[in-house]
């Protein structure tokens, strides 16, 4: 994996600093990238890694000031005019962003979008531009059938869209490609394919590649060199394998330890424990939009005969890619939607079709934490009122003093302080908000908490802390968890048993380690193989 580094590096960053107002965002950063070399620029959100990528392209916000030098093949980019830079962007430096849908024009056919990039920089005929577009789309794996170029972005999957974005960035054969979290919005399978594609491009076209990411596992697999950023500075850099084994900086070590996701639970719970939640033969369908006036469309079967069970005190993982039906299943389990067939039982009572007082009583037993730490709270409510919201489920909600005391208790249980009750959600960081969400789930003293991608939006270090908190709470309060996620590494670290879901069905289930070490279903095997690993 060691690429030959050219004598003079392709990209040379020397003493780069960026500030906005009085805040210095990048401090005296120096970095080289050689031709054909893959550099991983790693850091938590807010570390300045994306800003570095934008600074190379000189795409900074208008009020940012930049000092230092950025040289591409020895030529300084930092003193070019905006017009000159427009010529350089796209032709000499390609860029791929996190959200492919936002980078594509939704109303333009993908072939035309790639061809447009060509015609912006080269005076060639439309036919030639389209030929170049076709070749590049072939190269990124969108080849083949007639009409592939005529598709619109919405007709493609997330992975395919990201391939189009890569084709747009690579069509002119730029010597340098910058990819900013290119796989963060993608499923494991698509992620593996996009990463392989980027690696191939760098190798076959001798392209320099800067991969900006928070994910150490991705970097470990793909890159030649790593630069680790923390608070606007590069705290450590070196060849990937060496660096990962000999990290010096405490921040780097903490990050690596957090990324490794060591199992947080001591031992699997004994299976003799009482069954809390029983899910039996759930079928859940959504009506599809009718295409003909005369015929109703066949409904879309999101969940197709799923059964699972959760015992007291155990953590059950539910993994699957987006569209596998796991979110629909979760909504049925939480009795937010009614299944067409099958039933959910809470401690023996039917939950899925319960109504009125019975439904409210059963709801106390299962609470939920959702993915988005920013969207999970009404911005106008103070924390105390937010956490106390599930008290609505009680027949006689506690009076003010009692409520305040209970809110203070759960706040302390999740590692916040009682005085946080009077603050508003926007005053907290993402990790703290997820703690508030957990506090809200704890307040009715449920026996099960469902987590819907609850740590997916968090930084590695924060994610490790939250997982630790969850393990500790489970042990202390004898809580059972249903942990729904697409991230196999996370689920492996916390779950006692896992269910693997695909196209509405459970394809495999069993004790976590058994499933991971000897998967029986081909799909599970493929999922595990596609997941980036840190050894």
């Amino acid at each position: 994996m060691t690429a030959a580094r050219a004598d003079s590096p392709l990209l040379q960053i020397d003493g780069l600093s960026v500030s906005m107002g009085t805040v210095q965002i990048i401090k005296n950063l120096s970095l080289d990238v050689g031709a054909g070399e893959i550099l991983g620029l790693v850091g938590a959100s807010g570390s300045g890694k994306s800003m570095t990528a934008l600074a190379i392209m000189r795409l900074l916000p208008a009020h940012a000031t930049l000092t230092g030098a950025v040289r591409l093949r020895g030529e300084a980019l930092t003193d070019r005019s905006e017009t000159e830079l427009q010529g350089i962007r796209g032709r000499d430096i390609g860029m791929v962003f996190q959200e492919p849908m936002a980078a594509l024009n939704p109303l333009m056919r993908i072939g035309d979008q790639v061809a447009e990039t060509v015609r912006l920089h080269r005076s060639v005929s439309i036919a030639d531009a389209r030929r170049a577009a076709r070749e590049t789309l072939d190269l990124v794996g969108l080849r083949g059938e007639q009409g592939a170029l005529d598709r619109l972005p919405y007709e493609l999957s997330g992975g395919q869209r990201q391939r189009v974005a890569i084709a747009m960035a690579a069509v002119l054969g730029p010597p340098l490609l910058i990819a900013d979290e290119p796989t963060t919005a993608l499923d494991v399978g698509a992620q593996a394919q996009v990463l392989r594609l980027l690696q191939e491009l760098a190798r076959t076209r001798n392209m320099g590649l800067i991969l900006v990411t928070h994910d150490l596992a991705v970097v470990a697999q793909l890159t030649d060199r790593i630069a680790l950023m923390h608070r606007g500075e590069i705290v450590e850099q070196g060849a990937t394998q060496q660096l990962l084994h000999h990290l010096q900086h405490p921040y780097g070590r903490a990050l690596l330890a957090a990324a490794k996701l060591r199992p947080r639970r001591a031992a699997p719970q004994p299976p003799a424990a009482e069954q809390i939640l029983q899910v039996r033969d759930i079928v859940h369908e959504y009506p599809r939009r009718r295409r003909s006036l005369w015929r109703t469309a066949a409904p879309f079967r999101a969940v197709d005969g799923v059964s699972l069970s959760i015992h007291s005190g155990e953590t059950v993982g539910l993994v699957g890619e987006s569209g596998s039906g796991k979110s629909s299943l979760l909504r049925v389990i939480l009795a937010l939607e009614r299944p067409q067939a099958g039933e959910v039982r809470m401690l023996g009572d039917v939950f899925s079709t319960a109504k009125g007082a019975a439904l409210r009583r059963l709801r106390r037993g299962i609470q939920a934490v959702f993915q988005d730490p920013y969207g999970s709270f009404d911005p106008q409510w103070p924390v105390e009122r937010l956490i106390a919201e599930p008290f609505y489920l009680l027949d006689s909600p506690p009076a003010v003093a009692e409520r305040r005391r209970k809110v203070a208790t759960v706040l302390e249980q999740v590692g916040l302080s009682a005085s946080d009750a009077l603050r508003y959600p926007h005053e907290f960081s993402g990790g703290q908000r997820q703690r508030i969400a957990i506090a809200r789930a704890l307040i009715t003293e449920p026996s099960v908490i469902a987590f819907d991608e609850a740590v997916s939006a968090l930084d590695v270090l924060v994610r490790a802390q939250i997982l630790e908190l969850l393990a500790e709470l489970a042990a202390r309060l004898r809580l059972a968890y249903l942990f729904v996620s697409h991230d196999l590494n996370v689920v492996r670290s916390i779950a006692d048993r896992i269910y693997v879901m695909r196209q509405g069905r459970i394809v495999e289930h069993g004790p976590t380690e058994t499933v991971f070490t000897s998967p029986r279903h081909a799909y599970t095997e493929a999922l595990i193989a596609a997941t980036p690993k840190l050894r």
Partner: protein, 277 residues
Amino acid sequence: MSVLETRNGSGSRRIGLIVGAAITGIFGVIAVIAAFWTPYDPAALSIVDKLQAPNLHHWFGTDQLGRDVLSMIMAGAKNSVGVALLSVIIGVFIGVPLGLLAAARRGAIDELIMRGNDLVFAFPSLLLAILITAVFGPGAINAIIAIGIFNIPVFARVARGGALQLWTRDYTLAARVAGKGYARISGEHVLPNLLGLLAVQGTIQFSLGVIAEAGLSYVGLGAQPPTPSWGRMLNEAQTLTVLAPTLALFPGAAVLLFVLGLNLLGDGLRRRWEPEK
């Protein structure tokens, strides 16, 4: 990336908001004062004093029947604000619940409400207002109802659009896990987060209401004499433009200034609430 997102409103925006609020405020104060006091009785005729140019006794002059124009403008402001405000209230109190209901329940109810909206939207509004007042008789009350009906679908749409977005937030999901029903969530979580949006739309509809009221009374279908109204003042002044040009100037300027102020206010509020799109 929080640094990127904080952006202070630029000076010109804030000036628009302040000027708009000031103009609107002044007209509001005038309307309230006019309810209790005007320099002269706006309906008192005095043929001897007819068609005076602006002077120390009659700041805005007098009309062809000798009525004090300043008093009529003030009383007209009261009428204008009253009609526009009440028609906005009709729109808000019927339209917003319909929009919230449509967003919360979706499906057939949503279709029904929104297609009903489309039906109302399909009519040319001022024309139908004329029809309503022509059928039920001219007058301020009927003008309020006619304008109010057209505010209903506007507020229903704005409320539904905003609510649909809020229903995708996880906090509405969390509220459902806490056992709350659609109505309660709409009241506790959705409506409070829509107030900014509704205030902006309310200001815009208010200014449209002022124009509509002036239009209706211009054609004689608004408030009936002796209640003064800006539209009718304009109508009466137009035959006398050569003889007394200031007669048309004051009511025209009042409509123009008030609507300008409301639009500046609405625009300023909109930018404040949604600084970046």
